[in-house]
């Protein structure tokens, strides 16, 4: 990265967040907080069946309810030319079933919307929706991930064996050869259970159509408002992009679930025009559990081949991925290019082969959830390496260390397509072990075991891919969009600056971190910089925030736009100082002839000069504003080592996380406080997958835990405090040296905790249990095995 611009640079400092004041005083502005004059309210009629033919919809009684303005069905939307919701990632031979915003003749999961009622207030809309009488003919449901292929029922008639696609990567012959030479072969079947994202703010939308101007405005809980506008406008609704404004105001968490285009916002954006009134809808939490895209849901057979000394020779992976009832926006890339490509982890693995079968089932659609494919890869790799260490009788840290890609091997080409940018894995593991005082903890564990206490230590050395993504690369792999990012930097005549970013913050603190970045680059106070995001009417077309891309891609776009501003400022300064532009240098916002800092032009003076335009060089236009569209040349690859120490209660099976150490390397860091905060939250979500969370359906596709009463989002008293630290290996991919930090915690912590629990259960001879590692599951395992040492 460039040198800090000021002696007390704000780049790298834990600056307190400027977002906080409004959130702490109740003055945040989330979608549901926006109400327009004449706003009406929508309630959706949803299928109570996982799979049913919709024979008829009787709206007679509902229409009689006072305050009801309109009731619409899927047939009406289709008749008016509303299209289905598309997917934005295509793979060879993929099956693309239609996904109408309201089901027309068949409902394919519990909660699928079949009609909408719009009324003067939300209570009346709900009352009337309950009076809509839908005549369903229930059909057999396909639910089980593994059983989908053999099911006699088809979720979609166009997808035989319920297969959406088959995908493979790597060299199968090389893997076969590696296995034939192996001294040790380790095999395990692993379930990576389905999860719900549970952003605390439920999804919400408010659509308003102005008949006089023909402008359509949509406020929506979106991580990527331009993507919403493009897909809804061009593909679903046929609304011209320049007459369609999408605003994603304050958004209360996303974790992936607010990337996608959902039926409800499409219906509202269409309905507002029909009834000439604004229409609002906000999901109840129950609706969120039924309809927000969910994550994970893999069944995987993994095999690892090692030589006699524990060097990894090959990895073979076969996965069935459950995509749910419809293809959500990015669903096809999650169990493929965000998963199979990460299977080398931090290890030198000469041969890897992965096959993925993706299936449709009569369940809620599945798409990206924090980590998206990368947690699934990290979990299987870190589990199988741990199982291998146990089987061979090696220390799990030592086995990992001896298989690390060495620091001098970067850039490193894996056998699964990716080229890692930079890495230095051993120091991160060493630091984590040191922070934990590993030898002492091993000793304490041995003592505890003698006392009949079951303490376990679990290590995870993970990798993740951020800086999503080089557009040409993802285009060649099936993406239907570029994945660059935009920035527009507008310097006002007084030298104050507005930065417009295509990234979107929904908890990440961009208003602070991007202001730090701009302040650093321009050499002006942070207070002189405003960050603007989330409104397609003011921000240049941008791709939004997911995949830990905002700082690495969005930040670099800001950095590059500021570079153009500074170039122009130098030309103006050169003109005023009667020097050549190449002789002008800049420090702390002062522009001067190299070696003559006493005759300097300040940034504010140059901005004013640019706008007055009384005295500019002939070839320089007035004004001071620049755009950048930054397309990364590669992904970036954060990594690290997480270690969990847990104790399993023999009496109850309950797991207590005693200690948690996280060492992450996310490259250069703009604001350590914010990065630490994201790591904390990520760890909590990852621990929750290991121990508690699981979306469950019964055999008929009925959700069994679709509320916060039954879905186990962790609470404060279930979690420990976290001990976090960092090593810093800058990325050479972008000029800021940033790798990305939003998902590391989630990716790393799940296998660390699962490994720790399995380590705790070693005295019982239990080598593997599938997540979530609930008290019941652990107690049953301990009860049936018994402590082998006493046998």
């Amino acid at each position: 990265m460039s040198q800090p611009n000021t002696s007390e640079s704000v780049f790298g400092a834990s600056v307190l967040r400027r977002e906080d004041a409004r959130f702490l005083t109740g003055r945040g502005r989330y979608t549901d907080d926006v109400t327009l004059p004449g706003t009406t309210y929508a309630a959706f009629v949803r299928s109570p069946h996982a799979h049913a033919r919709v024979r008829a919809i009787d709206i007679g009684r509902a229409q009689q309810v006072r305050g009801v303005r309109a009731i619409f069905t899927g047939a009406q939307l289709a008749a008016d030319g509303v299209n289905g919701i598309p997917t934005a990632w295509l793979l060879p031979d993929i099956k693309l079933p239609a996904h109408p915003p309201l089901a027309v003749d068949r409902a394919r999961y519990v909660g699928e919307a079949v009609a909408v009622v719009i009324a003067d207030n939300a209570y009346v809309a709900r009352d009337a929706a309950d009076l809509v009488n839908v005549d369903y003919e229930p059909l057999p449901a396909v639910v089980d991930t593994e059983g989908a292929a053999a099911a006699t029922t088809l979720v979609h008639d166009i997808a035989p064996a319920n297969r959406c696609f088959h995908w493979s990567l790597g060299d199968a012959a090389a893997v076969d050869a590696a296995f034939s030479d192996a001294a040790h072969i380790v095999r395990q079947r692993l379930l990576n259970q389905r999860l719900a994202a549970v952003a605390m703010e439920p999804r919400s939308a408010l659509a308003s159509y102005d008949k006089a101007t023909e402008d359509l405005t949509l406020w929506v809980t979106s991580q990527n408002p331009h993507v919403h506008r493009l897909i809804m406008g061009a593909f679903v609704l046929g609304v011209p992009e320049h007459k369609f404004r999408v605003i994603a105001p304050d958004v209360g968490g996303g974790f992936g679930s607010k990337i996608f285009i959902y039926p409800e916002e499409c219906v509202l954006a269409w309905a507002t025009k029909q009834i000439a009134r604004p229409v609002k809808w906000t999901a109840t939490r129950s609706e969120s559990f039924l309809t927000d895209a969910q994550g994970r849901d893999h069944v995987t057979d993994v095999e690892l081949a090692l030589d006699a000394e524990g060097h990894i020779l090959g990895l073979r992976v076969n996965t069935i991925a459950n995509l749910g009832a419809y293809l959500s926006l990015f669903a096809p890339c999650v169990p493929t290019y965000l998963y199979g490509t990460l299977l080398s982890g931090v290890y030198k693995i000469p041969a890897i082969h992965v096959e993925v079968d993706a299936v449709f089932t009569n369940t809620t659609p599945v798409d990206a959830y924090r980590g998206a494919g990368r947690p699934e890869a990290a979990y299987l790799l870190e589990r199988i390496v741990d199982i291998a260490a146990k089987q061979i009788g090696m220390n799990p840290a030592a086995l990992r260390r001896q298989n690390f890609i060495p620091a001098d091997a970067f850039p490193y080409q894996t056998p699964v397509a990716l080229q890692y940018d930079s890495g230095n894995y051993a120091p991160a593991l060493d630091l984590a072990l040191r922070k934990l005082d590993y030898p002492k903890i091993l000793e304490e564990q041995a003592q505890a075991r003698k006392q009949g206490r079951y303490v376990g230590i679990g290590i995870s050395t993970y990798i993740e891919a951020c800086s999503i993504a080089p557009s040409q690369v993802v285009g060649s792999l099936g993406a239907q969009a570029g994945l660059w990012e935009s920035a527009s930097v507008r310097v006002h005549p007084t030298g104050k600056v507005s930065v417009f970013t295509g990234s979107h913050a929904h908890g990440q603190g961009h208003e602070t971190t991007f202001a730090q970045l701009a302040s650093h680059d321009l050499g002006i106070p942070m207070a002189d910089v405003e960050i603007v995001h989330g409104d397609t009417a003011v921000v240049p077309f941008g791709m939004g925030s997911y995949g830990s891309r905002s700082a690495a891609v969005g930040g670099t776009a800001i950095h590059n736009a500021i570079g153009k501003i500074k170039d122009k400022a130098k030309r103006i300064a050169a003109h005023l100082l009667e020097a050549a532009p190449e002789d002008i240098t800049e420090e702390n916002g002062k522009y001067f002839v190299r070696g003559a800092p006493d005759r300097a032009k300040g940034f504010g003076e140059l901005a004013l000069t640019a706008y007055l335009a009384h005295n500019l060089p002939r070839d320089v236009e007035p004004g001071l504003e620049a755009n950048s569209f930054y397309d990364p040349s590669n992904f970036t690859f954060p990594f690290g080592a997480h270690i969990a120490v847990v104790e399993v209660s023999r009496a109850t099976g309950d797991v207590k996380v005693l200690k948690y150490v996280a060492v992450d390397d996310v490259g250069n860091v703009i604001n350590p406080m914010i990065v630490d905060g994201m790591v904390h939250g990520g760890i909590a979500q990852g621990i929750a997958q290991a121990l508690w969370e699981e979306v469950r359906f019964d055999d008929n596709g009925q959700p069994l835990n679709a509320s916060l009463m039954t879905y186990a989002v962790p609470r404060a008293d279930q979690l420990p405090s976290f001990d976090t630290a960092r090593t810093v290996t800058p990325s050479p991919v972008n000029p800021l040296g940033i790798k990305g930090a939003g998902e590391t915690g989630t990716i790393a912590s799940t296998p660390a905790v699962a490994n720790a629990v399995m380590d705790a259960l070693a005295p019982f001879g239990v080598t593997h249990l599938d997540m979530p590692l609930t008290p019941e599951k652990l107690w049953t395992a301990m009860e049936s095995a018994g402590d082998q040492r006493r046998a």
């Binding site: 307190l16 967040r17 977002e19 906080d20 004041a21 409004r22 959130f23 702490l24 005083t25 109740g26 003055r27 945040g28 502005r29 989330y30 549901d32 907080d33 109400t35 207030n121 939300a122 209570y123 549970v198 952003a199 605390m200 703010e201 439920p202 304050d250 958004v251 209360g252 968490g253 974790f255 906000t282 109840t284 939490r285 129950s286 929904h506 908890g507 990440q508 603190g509 406080m673 914010i674 630490d676 905060g677 994201m678 904390h680 939250g681 990520g682 760890i683 909590a684 979500q685 509320s707 916060l708 009463m709 989002v713 609470r715 404060a716 008293d717 979690l719 405090s721 976290f722 915690g745």
Partner: protein, 176 residues
Amino acid sequence: MVEIHLSVNGAPHHDEVEPRLLLVHYLRETLGLTGTHVGCDTSQCGACTVLLDGKSVKSCTVLTVQADGAEVTTIEGVATADSMHPVQEAFHQEHGLQCGFCTPGMVMAAIDLLQRTPHPTDEQIRTGLDGNMCRCTGYHNIVKAVKAASEKLAAEVPERPGRTPIHTPLGVPIVQ
């Protein structure tokens, strides 16, 4: 419709409401106090926490008619014109919030917790905030913030033998 009189953040209100109207919807939709959020429909998440006669309640579980005659304090009524409440300030200093959605409820619950337990241990803080969910922070910095706020409030009112500091809903320390 039922007639109600109540005070919200010190201002009197007189309205006619449907008996089924939840307090949180009265605050948000009728009074426009949108700082109080709705994060679930089963009284689990605590985003809607307000103080009712000085004690924290989940306003999604209170009917507006039940608040007849009561004093309600929402997140909008916690700071003074000049400064944030010590709990709000501590959340800012300790980075106890990210997306901000759970924050108003978390702050109100923390204020109530510190009224009941002015000098909480970390464990008491974690147990005391059990009714409020956060998906962003992993609670790490929330615990730190509440701890810091308790120390700040305690420093403002040094404990003296025989005297018990009481913190009003607005955090104004009173020594009896």
